[in-house]
Amino acid sequence: MTELLIDALSWLLMALGGGFVLIGGIGALRLPDFYTRIHAASLTDTMASILIFFGIILQAGFSLAALKLFAIMIFLLLTGPTASYALANAALQSGLRPEKPTVTSTGRDK
């Protein structure tokens, strides 16, 4: 019974992860320009990979493989944003300006 429950939960997580990959793809096509499209890519990058990895970890059960999968997920989550930053910053440095004007904020004094 518990096995079936774990299986169902892992299927649910993986299906949701796949759904987020699809939504990320739709977003990358629908959104208008470079900077907004990065947001769709980050949906695939983070949410989808977290869901899929947790789904696979449930399949692996309580073992060394699960620990390794968790570590791989952490490495992906540490390096993914660094790559996104490199991409976005390269675009900014080479002169692609975001469309809307900059909102300056110091936050607390409002």
Binding site: L31, T46, K110
Partner: protein, 168 residues
Amino acid sequence: MYRSNQQQGNGKVLHIAALLAVLMVSWVLWSGLYKPLILGLGVFSCLLSTYLATRMGFFRHKFPLRTLLRLPGYWWWLLLEIVKSSIDVARVVLSPSMPISPTVVELKSEGLNDAGKVILGNSITLSPGTVTIDLYKDTFLVHCLTKEGAQALQEQEAQRRVQLLGLN
């Protein structure tokens, strides 16, 4: 500025030894092979990684143990943020009118050292809907998909959370 919290002597050697030990233990756990050749390659790559880390200035700042202990709590908070903002972005992308309002926000982060800035910048990029596009000194330039996302950032919850890690 670097000089003031640079670590010297024994503390640094201890940190290097700790990194080397962690790397070697993880190599053995990961490979699971105990042939002399594989172990030798493992020792070699651990030494190389430690050397590169030292050259990169990895040991220039302290990385206190309390940060390591507080990191899981921070990750849990970040996971909840990621789930919330993912659902927001998915809703925006899927709705027929696609109500985006791209905004660029300047965030100040005072009192964070380099490691804290990296954690903050990467956490902002990690949550869908916000991407760090530039970091100069203490100022982050963040591109947000919606105005609401930008307003949420300006409440500076993330900065407080990173400061609570106690990196300094």
